[in-house]
Amino acid sequence: MTSSAPFRLAIIGIGKISFGSHIPAALASPQIELVAFVDPDTTRAREIASEFGLDIEIVAAIAEMTQEVDGAVIATPNHLHAPLAIECLDKGINVLIEKPLASTVEEGLQIIEAEKKSGQKVSVGYCTRYYPNYQLFKQLLDRNYFGRISRFAYQFGTPGGWSTFSNYIMDRENVGGGVLVVTGTHFLDRMIDMFGFPDEVRLLEDSLGGPEANARLLMRFGEGPAQISGYASFSKTTALSPGMVLETEKGHVLLADNQTDLILYPDGSPDLAVSLHKPDRSKTEICQFQLQIEDFVHSCQQDRKPMVSAAEGLRSLELLETAYRNKEQFPENWFEKKGAGK
């Protein structure tokens, strides 16, 4: 594959995330030529193609695709990621898989096996890695700019959220969990990228047999003086301002989601807030889905590791499985704690 030729891309699964993010990102990218949509609901796929003025091949299954493609975005319900990714890889097609990598660690391992066998690239759609202030924070963290980090707390919550076309999100089996998978896994990926895999994980969640709507993780990384204690909360019922606060040797650091800047509140100076950002803010204006798809294309063309590899995607899956294995019921006895309110 030469880097000057357009990268021929198919999108598999024409649901809300493809409509709202992957298709616009692919169309905005100068290197990409969108050549096919694959979705069992070809009528809806055709309607969406015409929304974007696209005259491309629309088929119900990968096997029906006649177009030569270099890569495919897989944006289907989670339980379909593995079979579709393996089918693509076996056909010599590189894949960018929407997060999470698969529904289970076992399926994730099958994808990695197929990746090795085919020699193709697998990238995982953890697009929040491209948040400008996260990239800056990671760079500073790697240089030990903040000194020792002792604690962090993260939260992300919305009262409800976007609706899927297929309602698959309401089925725990299809999703592989609840809000921890749908929302939380983005942070888990970044968290592993920052601090590695936690040594201890405790999950409190409110599932009553279906996908949980609220999940709280309590974690420990390392031990002794280097120990980091972590908290992460995800909600589909309550608005929680998305972001992370870290307790560091230099002071508290506020890393609000998807901002250009991060804020350092130096210890001992309560009236001071230091804003840190990369020298050129204009470079942060491209949406993270476009950055993600372009990274995928470049990793295929330059035969290099993508931003989030299948192996990294597998780590997030392992953490999800560990957390669900250690889950406890989130107490909802609001009326029982009498007098505790005020």
């Binding site: 409800g160 609706s163 599932s207 909360s233 309550t238 609000a256 009326f335 009498k338 505790a340 309110g341």
Partner: protein
């Protein structure tokens, strides 16, 4: 077996109704939702099937009514959903032979300054131009008409709904945090409330005990709470040392509707203003026309170009920049309602007693708020730093 369909089941009130009815093993509950995005609280239950229906589509609504004996309408949405949707719901419920239809109204049918007589639910409603109140009253009239035409129906009319997950309380906490709320005077003005579980209980009672003659019942916590009492619970959830105080004159001066005047000359000037021309210049042909006319004006003698511009745009306007708190005056004006609504008729006719007191409900909300935000953990100090 009774089969109850709760339309608008994923909303705050709808979820409480579903959760209450599920505890009664003699009832089969059908939770009807518009979309899955907001249904997370319900979908975490394995014992409940969600049914997705657009109530503005008659066929979908008709199918959803199959086998249903009782209906609760908790839907909200656009005017189309509220009016056309309700019309379809009422029609299909009657066609399906539904035994009882319960509809949720709002005390806003008595407007922003309810008459003293509106203590009682027998008082004639008057929304006084409050747009939501006007819409809710139209709905009440439709339900009462349906009751007259043979669909047993009851209307339950709540004030501010409180308790865990309360949207009203969430909004108020945010306003206190952001200096958008001011307490009127000493805060002794009436703040009518009902805990969401108490509301669900009233709906449950109405479904199976009411006459179904289209009567409207107030439901409250049967406690005369004041704004000072209510906000005292919420202030502790913020880092504010105290509430901003305002007076009636402040509110009245801020909520006067702006005068709308129609001035053809002003409209014409707006058409040739730089804002409009800038948008038009995005079209290459219109851009050329604009360049041509600007060229003509530039050739005019003296300072004519400046005078033309001043004539069209008017003098520069520098807006006043105030450091005063950004009070939400419209919301704050609710403190001037001044009426405690009585749930006496609901008590006498349907045997209603609140399950939770105002104090219990507010404490539960505070417990919920703290738990959802991790304020009950060792990470509270970090989490409170998030905006």
């Amino acid at each position: 077996m009774k089969k109850v369909a709760v339309f608008g089941a994923s909303g705050f009130a709808g979820t409480a109704v579903v959760e209450r009815l599920l505890k009664n093993k003699d009832i089969e509950v059908v939770a009807v939702i518009h979309s899955d995005g907001n249904a997370w609280r319900l979908s975490r239950r394995k014992d409940l099937t969600l049914r997705q229906v657009d109530i503005t589509v008659p066929q979908q609504t008709k199918e959803a009514m199959t086998g249903i004996t009782h209906v609760v309408n908790c839907t909200r949405g656009s005017d189309e959903v509220m009016l056309k949707g309700l019309e379809i719901l009422l029609h299909e419920a009657k066609q399906a032979g539904v035994e009882h239809f319960v509809h949720i109204s709002s005390i806003l049918i008595y407007g922003d300054r309810p008459a003293p007589a509106s203590v009682h639910d027998t008082a004639p409603p008057d929304p006084q131009g409050n747009s939501y109140g006007v819409l809710k009253l139209k709905q009440d009239n439709m339900v009462q008409k349906a009751a007259k035409n043979g669909l047993p129906a009851t209307i339950i009319c709540p004030p501010n709904i409180i308790g865990p997950y309360s949207l009203f309380l969430n909004g108020l906490v945010n306003m206190i945090k952001n200096d958008q709320f001011g307490l009127l005077g000493d805060g002794r003005h009436a703040c009518a409330t009902v805990d969401v579980d108490n509301l669900a209980k009233a709906i449950d009672l109405a479904l199976f005990n009411a006459a179904g003659d289209g009567s409207r019942y107030f439901v409250t916590d049967n406690y005369d709470a004041t704004w000072a009492e209510l906000t005292d619970y919420l202030l502790h959830l913020t880092d504010k040392p105290g509430l901003i105080t305002i007076d009636q004159q402040d509110i009245e001066s801020h909520i006067k509707p702006p005068k709308v005047s129609y001035n053809p000359l002003k409209s014409l000037k707006h058409l040739v203003s730089s804002d409009v021309r800038e948008a038009l210049r995005k079209d290459p042909l219109l851009c050329k026309v604009d360049v041509f006319f600007r060229g003509l004006v530039a050739k005019l003698p003296g300072n004519m170009e400046d005078r033309v511009r001043l004539g069209i745009e008017g003098p520069m306007k520098i807006p006043k920049v105030s450091s005063a708190p950004p009070i939400n005056w419209q919301f704050c004006s609710a403190q001037m309602r001044g009426v405690f609504h009585s749930c006496e008729r609901l008590q006498q006719e349907l045997g209603y007693t609140p399950d939770h007191t105002f104090t219990e409900s507010m404490n539960a909300y505070v417990n919920w708020y703290k738990a959802m935000r991790g304020y009950d953990t060792e990470f509270a100090d970090l989490l409170k730093r998030l905006p």
